[in-house]
Structure formats: C-alpha cells, structure tokens
Symmetry: D3
Subunit: 256 residues, 6 copies
C-alpha cells in the first residue's frame, strides 16, 4: 500500500480487509457547504479537512486509511448567505452513525472523524455519546482543525472579533489551496466588538451562557476577522502543528 | 408576582399570559439521573440546576419565570453504574425542542436552558442550531453551571484529574443540598494521570482530538477528583459567582 | 432508607442498586403544563401526581421508589389557552419508553407510571402495548388519579357537565396544595349541556363514537364544572381513597 | 350513487369530488390480523368493522362514503399465538394520520374511523390528539364496536371473565359471517377469575391501575369467555344496536 | 384448506400455523387510492392486485396464502385529481416492512408482494434492500402486474403515449371488474407526444435521466392512452399471461 | 467562470448566487463504497459518477454546476464482502432530500442527481415521489450511468450473466481511471446461468417478480460477468455516449 494513496475508496475489497485486520485508524473527513465570505469558496471547510487528512496519512506512512469525505454538514447559521446548504442535525448524525457503524461492522475499531467545520462539533459529540450507550466497545474519536492549535492562533495575533473566514481560516486556505482564494476580493468583516449589535456583542461576550445567532446578525459580509491580514505562513504553522498533534494522538492511540 | 415563586407551573393561565407579554425570560432547569459516586445522589445535576435557577430568579426579583425541570438527560457514559438512566440524544433533543417551541407559541421569546449536566451540552447546541434554521427569530440560549466559572475552580486548586463528583461539584452540593451528601461515604476517585489506563490518559490529555470513554474506564468508583477536599465554602463561591454571571447575562439580554 | 424520602434522585448509586435488587416498584409521576382555568395553576396535574406518589410511598413505608417527575405531557386540546405547552404523542411516548427501559436496564422489573393528566392516558397505553411486543417480560403499569375513584366522585354529586378544573379536580388541589388555588378567582365553567354548542353537546353525549374537541370549543374559561362547589373535604376523600387503592394494587403486585 | 355501493375505492375521481363537496362523512374500517381462538378467523375484527360500516351506509342511504379498510392493527399482546401480525403504534398512527389528512386534503371534513379491534383504540386517541394540535379545524372521530353497546352485552349475561373471542364477539361473527366460524372447534377459554394466575387476576381486577399482559398469560387458547354460549341472536342485537347508535351519531354530526 | 379460500384473514390461528410450517408462499396484495380518469374507480390498482392474487391461488390450488390487502400506496403524482390519497414513502415502507417481518416472525419464509400500482415499486425495492441488510435470510420478492407482460401489451398495439388508465389497464378492468368501469364516460387522454408540453415530452422521451412530473402536467383528464380502445379480450390475455408467469415463479421458488 | 471548474464547492457565495439566478442545472454525483471484485476499488461507482459529471460540465461549457459528491449509498447486498459500507434507505433518502431542498432554497430550480450505483436508484425515485407531493414546483431528475446506454452494452456483447464488475463497468473504469484497476487481479465472476444456484438462477431469470439476493449468493468473488474481457475502448463508447445523452437531456431541459 506504500505507493498507493490510503483512500478507502481506492482500495479493493481485499485491501480493505487487510487494512481492517491490520488495525488501521480510519479518518473520516467532514466538511460543509457554506458561505465563506467574498473571497473563499463554499467548500473551504471540506477542503481543509481533506487536506489535513492527507497530511496526516503522509506523515504516518501507514496505519491509517481515509474514508470518503462527507461534504455537507450543519450550517443553519449561514443560510441567509447564498450557496449555503445544511443538513439537519438529525440527518447529519444519522449519516455519521451509519458510516461509523458500517466501518465497525467491516472490522475497523478505531475511527477518527476530522471536521473542518465547527458547526459539526456538537452533532459529532452526540453521535459519540449515543455510540457509548449502544456500542460500548467501539472507539470513536473526532477532532476539529483550528481548535487543535489555539496557542498558534493566539500567538499570531488576530482581530478582537475573529472567527469564520478570519485570519486563521484564510491563512490555512492560502497555504493549502491558494488557487481557490480570491485575494483580490478579500475584505475585513466584523473585527471589533463595537461594530457588533448589542445582541451580537452579548452573544460574543461569554462562552456561557451560549446564545447562537445567525451569521447575518454578526457580519454583513459573513466574515469575522480580517482575511486581508492572513498569510500562507501562518497557514503553514496552523496546519503543520495541527498535523503534528493529530499524528501524535493517532500514534499513541494505535499503540494501546 | 413578587410574593409567589416564579415557577411557571404555579402560575395560572392568565398569569402566564402576563409573563409572556411582559417579556419574561424563561429558565428551563435541565438535569440528569446518573451515578454521582458513593456519596452524592443520582439527581445531583438536577438539584444544582434547580437551585441556581431559584437563585437567579430571587436575585433578579422579576423578569424571569422558571419552567418545569426536565430531570433526565444524556448519560450513556455512566450506564455501567447502577441507577443511571439516559435518554438518547434524539429523544432529549425532541423534548427540549418541543418545550422551547411550545413556550414560544405561547408568546415567550427569550428562553434560557440551564443544565446542571455537561452531558446535555452537545444536544442543547444541536437544538439551538436546528432552531436557527427553522425559527430564525426565536432567541434560545443555554448555559452549564460549573463551566461558567472556570476561574473560580482554577483558583481553588483541584486534583490533577478532576471532574465528575470532584471538588467543584461536591462543593456545590455541600452548599446547596448538604443533607443529600453522605460525607461519611465520600472517597477520592481518580485524581492523578498515572492512575489512568493508557487509553484513559490519552483521552484526558487533549481537548482535541476528543475521545469519549465510559466512566467505568476512567474511575472505579465513578469519581474524578477528590470529594473529601470539597467544602461548602468553595461551593458558595462557585454558585454565587455563577449566579452573578447568569444574572448579568439575563439583565443585558432583557434590555436589548 | 427509612428516614430518607424514597426519591430515586436522592439515592446514591449504591442505594439504587439495593432498591432494584430488593424488587422495589418504581413510581413515575407524570403531569402536564396546561391551563387550569382562572383559579388553578398550570402545573395542577403534576402537583397532584407528585402528591399521590408521596402518599403512596409514605403509606407503604418501603418497597417503592419514586422516579423523577416528567412534568410536560400531551395537552394539544388546551393550546388556545395561555401557558399551555404540549409534547407530541410521539415524543412523549419516546421519553416514557426510554425512561422505563432505562430503569429496567438497571434492574427494576415493576414500574408504575402515575399520571395526574388524563391526556397522557392514551400514549401510556401505546407505550405499554409496544413494550409487550418488544420486552414481553417487563411489567409496566400505569394509573390515572381521579378515574381510580369514580364512585367517590359520583357519590359527591357534581355538575352535569363536569371534568377539567371541576369539583373533583379543584377539591383535590384544595386538599393537597391549597396555597396554589386562587379561590377568589374561581368561577364556574360550562356546567350544563344546554350551555354547550351543538357540536360540543354531541361530543359529550356519548363515550363512543369519540369526538375530541379543543377546550376552547367546550368552555369559555377552560373549566368544565363548578370549582366554587369544590371542597378540601371532597379532595381528601378522593385522594385518600385513590391512595388506598393504588397501595392495595402495589401490595398485591409486589407479593406475586 | 344510490345503486352503487358507497365504497370510496369504487368511485371515480369525479364522484369522489362530489362526495367531498356534498359533505359526506368518511368511514374508515380498521381491523387487526390476530388470533381469535380455535374457532374464529384471524381477520375477525376487520370483518366486523367492514360489516358495520356497510350496515351504517345502507341504513343512512346517503351522506357517507367508506374508505378502504386498514386491515392490520396493534396486536402485540397476541404475538405468542400463530398468525398474529402487528404494527408498532408509531407506524399504525402514521398510516391513520396520513390517510385522514389525505382525505382532508381532498375536501372531506368529517372522518370517522371504525375499529373492530380494541387494541387500536389508544393509538386512534393519540392521532386525534395530535390532529387537534396540528389541524385544529379538522373533525376526526373514531368508534369501537362492542363498546358502543355495553348495556346490550351486560343484559345478555356473559362469563365472569369475558372479552376477546367471548360470547359478545363470537355472537357478532355468528350473525355477520357464520360461514367463517368453526363452531365445531369452539371451546371456552378462561371464564372464571379463579382460573387466572395471581398476576392475571390482579390485572383484571381493576380498571386502574392498568397492567397490560400478553394474552398467553391470560388464557391457554387465547379466549376470554365462552364462545359456545354465543348466538346469532345476541350478535344481531349487538350489531343492530351499535349500528343504530353510530347512525344516530352521524346524523346529528352531519346536521351541525 | 381446499374448500376454503386461502385468505389469511379467514384462517384460524391453528390453520395459520399449519400454513407457515407447510412453507406456503404469502401473497400481499398492494394497491392505491388514486384517480383513474373519468371512467375507472379510485381503487383500480387494488382491485387488479386482489384479482390476480386470487387467480394465482386458484391456479396453484395450495401452497399460497393471501395476506390482507394494503389498499393505500404511494400516489403523490396524482394529488391534483380528486379522491387521490397517498402515503409518504417512509410510512408505506414502514407498513410493508412491519407486515413482512411480522409474517416472518410467525414462521413464513417466502413472501411475495403483488402491487397493482407502479408508484409502489420503488418503495418495495427499498424495503427489499433494507431487509437484505437486516434480515439476510428472509426471502422477500415483489411483482407489478402489467409490467410482467410487456410483450403482450406491445403485441396488442397501444397509443404512442400510453400508461395510466390506457388500453392495457382499462382492458384488465373490463376483464376483472367490468361493472366498475363506466364505459360511457371513457375518453382518450394524452395519446400522442405532440399533445404533451415540452417538459412532459422531455420527461417521456427517455427512460433515463428520469424526470418525474405530476399527472396534471401530463394529461388534462388523468389518462395516458385511449381507454375507448380497450377490450375485455386484451384484458384476459394480460391477466392470464401474468397469472401464468407469477404462478411459474412461485412454483419454481417453492421447489427450491 | 470559464477557467474555473464548475464545482459548487469551489464557488464563492456570490458566484453561487449568480449560478442560481442564471438558472444553472445542479448535478449531484452519487456513488457507493462497496466491493467491486478483486480488481476494482471500493469507490468505483463514485469515481464513475464524478467523472461523467465533469465530462458533462466540460461538454456544455456553462449552465451547470456540480454539487459535492455523496460518496456512500445503498449497498446492503454487498455487506458480506469486506469494505462495503451502506446507508439505510431512510438515511440516504433524508440526505438527498435535504441537499436537494437546500439547493432549492438557495434558488436553483433544476437538479439532476447522477448515480454511479444502481443500488441508489429506488431511493432516488422515492425522493422524487415525495418531493412531487411536498414541493410540486421543484424539478428533480436523476440518472444512472450504464443504464443510459443499454444499446451500447448490448452491441458490445457481454457474458450471459453480466452486471456488477462485469465487462461494461470494468471497461468504464479502464477508460476513466485505469490506474485504479488492478488488471493483474481481474478474474471472471459468474458468467453463465448454470453457475448460479437454483435460487439465484430464478432471481436472475425474470425482471418481475423481483427477488433481491445478497451478492454472496450470486458470485463467489462478487463479480457478475468477465472483467478480463473489458476494454478501455468499450469504456470510451459507454462513457462518451452516456455523456452525449445526458448533455442532450440537460440542453433540452434548460431550454424549457
């Protein structure tokens, strides 16, 4: 398998059997189809998830296999912006659960969902919870991307209001898929608390209580932060460090 | 309403109409029925949620009404311990969604779910997401308890491995319901990483990747941390500060 | 356990294990959040259910444990009146089924749901039916309150049109929670067939065919019967006799 | 339409439009496929439901139309006996709801489900409840058969333990479909309380608390009562009186 | 059983047990309640399904038993025409799956659904697929009617645009239920491509891509083809040949 | 957009808005993750679906946009072979429906699902049916691949038993993704009826009655037909002709 990419969809049935019996960790890239401001594509989250799965697989050179990407996630907060398509959390959960249990039925026991989209996090947690109840022996883990390296982002220095399409996310795209970023169209979104409405400022002021708002209540162009301050360099730091940490996790997991 | 407790279930239909038209915030206490170690009762999370809702209502003296408690939550990770009863995340989400939409149908527009149980958090987030898609004008927020005051807990100093039934939670119970804590039976649970299995240590070593384990894989007695080091004093700090912050949130919210 | 109230949520995990292995009957109080006329609170049905469970437990002094109350039921017929919140029958059934099966998984084998709200009866029956198919060995029973003592009510003499918030229900509240009844606001509802519309008279004239109407089609103030004719005395007769009969049932059941 | 039977399935689309605009009441016969002892067929409940719908239609000679029969109902309590097939209450409810709403969409506003099987009653009630919430203007009623004439049955005198396949039900079949009754095979089932197990006696001793048992816990041959004491005469009284009462209900309903 | 019709609903429980242990094939007639043009009844598909099941059973004289008819199917494409009632595909699938699994639970292992309505085909296929995954040993087959004998229809010569209520279907009804066909009202529907709208012509021009249209987009009177060219003779050929082929299938199946 | 590939996930939100208002047809590639014999990869159906969508888009040079691929389909018949992962038809239908309605909500009105996997066909039909009922104005079409060109396959001459992984499918892969075909491992599967079991021969002998079998009942290596007789040439004919026909359909559709 060394020369062939570890895409599950590229394996034959017999190779899949080998992967499962070898104890490979299955990575499932998860994304979203949602607005990413004026400059970035709808599939930004999917692209980043697939990219980091490929990097992880390349770094580990063995021991992982990459399942097909689930490219549509949970994005109701972006529906006011064109192009955004969402699944309900119920349907997204059903798909993830059936894919995870399907892989388990074929013999894999360690499965790691890798989501490029934070909106998928809560549903992934609910799937993990339900699986603990129904399949107590299955090992299902999941990870976001940027949130794996909050220290790298903090060190870089970002806008006071920062998030979707901001410095951190745009930088990643400049590193992994620069041809898909329309830098000429990039423009800052909401970057300072005083640009927010009272309600939005309240919602952003605390972790808890948690008050979810629609993105059109947070930013006119769908951007939080300043994509014009992004750089491929910062993107490289984020992606590389996240890759390191995910690889480290997998290595330790596989050894147990 | 000043003399009567602001329990929605204690209001007449006419009083409920007034509360809704007055713009009251509805608090929904959410708990769990799950093991809480040798010394604390199964309803610990429910008791703490109800207690803080009462404190918030008392402090604000008006402007909030407390919906009936939903006493069973999402607890599959505790099922190996006697007495634990869980809902699936699908059913828990359905109940919360129908209650929130039912309140909205009767005229309330700001609803804050208050959960004493962290296992409910992810499902509450998925409900909030789905409501953003289906009812973009409804304002639904939710909050945990201890996680509102991480600074207070950190300042107090707790075990290296700390969490369920640990110093922070036991202290709260010693403050709000000491008669339900069997201090004579309290004993430390897992308190140091070296007491954990390799898998449990891995799971606890990172925020992300997130690997959920059953509690019987984390602790023999269902406890993370040292309840014998708990104190009503620390409980008072946690509860009082959390009450302050939730009241502050509601005050700002109600003013918008 | 003699000194401590037999609330499941107040037991520790170990005490719950003992309760299950001792063969305790689990009582589940079920209520509603719905209009109860000008004088009674929205939670009237929940309050009465919790009260009778406590009386049953006190009378039997052992052998029963009380699960957390499920305070929202099936009340679509009252939705035109403020404050009423309902679950769909599907969601109500799901909650009851998961709670009953969750208790069964933890070792209890006899479970008695006690509903203060007649609107829950049909769904409880469907849950019992489905459980007969899926778990033929589990023993699940349920009971209403007032309908346990139709003879007591008949003997007392009530309005020709009588039911929700009428003499029987108001009397119970005057006995068990008089501080929550606003007697000054009590007023008769529909009490005679000639006050009903033709459709309502038809619907009330037969047990079968059964034609369900909304309560705003039956009564202007949501009341059927005359709450001003209620008395704590009648309430005591109803509650005490119902307690007797439910205790008798449990005693016989536990002995088999 | 006078010469043609008022079966909806026999009408053309144009005739259906006329029926709806004329304000016809739609009857939906509901049955079951379940054991009916040694002498009666699995479809007994369906046969009786279809028969009474035809009688009602004949008697009224206009103003009603009969929808297709739904021949499988809720029968989990009979599953231990060969031939019994049940739907879950969820699926049965979904079918009834979609059929009722489908008829309503085509213009009918009064719909009466006629069930030959008591096991369907609770689910029909839940459908009626949910429709009150979602379609407050639709008029949906339902009726059982034997329970419409409890006085006739009481007057006839039946076994102390009486019910499924007993004197009342067998008599109806002897009247409406004698060729399907194997009188030579008829034999008494459980007829006296002292033949019941303690648990079964408890379950039968009260209306409430309600404890549902499987039929194989109640009777060795699936019969409650004595079918050998049945007569076509009693069947005629039951069926004719029930027809009268249902016709009376429809006549009054149609006039409102 | 030779003298009695092989209707499952007419068998006693004991006879059902014999049928299952004898290895009978169970036929399930499936129909629809939908517009069939000016001349044919809403239940046309149900009538034809029941008819052919009876013919198959008569021909084979043993070895099959006929389950109760499911008379409402999947007909959303006809909803613009009065009288049409449809189930969602989800509910139709649930009913079929529960009936099939219910029969299997009672011992039958070969089940053949016979649908008179082509709109049911896709859902039957999805049920068969899901059963392959969940019950790999159960044998579930299904069959349409007219599509079993495309050669007979082709030989007869039909309109260029032909289908619902056309020569083939009307002929069958003239053969099996002539008293339900209002020949005086029969009139051609859409019979030539040039009568179709551009969209409808596109939709009819290819098997794939498949573009489903509503019937009111295809034909003003709900008819495709010319029912006035139908004949009982052609109906006899279609029905008899289809009966032959289904019998042949069952005979071979039963012998394996 | 001329230089950029018409992948929806590569468009910005503003470009998506333009695509929708321009009236673009959205293509949704649908595949499967299932065994494809000894020589072809698990993702064969997905690969072919994505390939033909790209060809169609390239040929039309405008007027279409390609949604993200849904890479897991309905494959329960292949579960006995390693690597196969399936969704239930219910979940697959939910995903397709939510994606189609999500695209519709964002302004697209013509949507064409392109499935490389025949096992998805029935569920796609059910989705189309339900959408006709709930969204009568939406235009949703779907197409398989090989079944668009049955004449090309027939002309080529294939094994008597032919299908999954046979000459036609393998040829397509040799044309579109030869680097993923392990020709050295290719071997004939079941190619003649006399190699089939009696049951399999029966199942394959008729279109209707339709009897679905598991693939391990049809072929030891999961192959029907002879992949060693495949050729890139035949693949080119199949793919090119299918592309032509789908483009022709879209061109006509877009012009209406």
């Amino acid at each position: 398998m060394t020369q062939r990419p570890p895409a599950l969809s590229h394996l034959t049935s017999a190779e899949a059997a080998e992967s499962a019996s070898r104890g490979d960790v299955v990575l499932i890239p998860l994304g979203a189809l949602e607005q990413h401001g004026p400059a970035m594509p709808l599939g930004t989250d999917t692209i980043r998830a697939e990219d980091i799965c490929a990097r992880v697989a390349a770094r580990l050179s063995g021991g992982v296999v990459i399942a097909p990407t689930l490219p549509i996630g949970v994005s109701p907060h972006h529906l006011a912006f064109p192009g955004t398509v969402t699944l309900t959390t119920t349907t997204f959960a059903a798909v993830v659960r059936e894919v995870v249990l399907g892989l388990h039925r074929q013999g894999w026991t360690r499965i790691l969902a890798v989501t490029g989209h934070g909106g998928n996090n809560a549903t992934l947690t609910t799937v993990a919870q339900d699986l603990l109840g129904s399949h107590p022996a299955l090992r299902f883990a999941w990870t976001p991307l940027t949130a794996v390296v909050p220290d790298v982002v903090a060190r870089a220095g970002v806008s006071k209001v920062h998030g979707h399409c901001g410095e951190a996310e745009t930088s990643q795209m400049l590193f992994v898929a620069p041809h898909l970023v329309r830098e000429d169209l990039a423009e800052p979104g909401t970057t300072r608390p005083d640009e927010l409405s009272d309600l939005a400022r309240l919602a952003r002021s605390t972790t808890y209580p948690a008050l979810s708002l629609r993105y059109d209540e947070l930013s006119a162009n769908g951007v939080l932060g300043d994509p014009t301050a992004a750089s491929a360099d910062l993107g490289a730091q984020i992606v590389t460090t996240a890759t390191d940490r995910i690889c480290d996790f997998i290595t330790r997991w596989s050894a147990i």
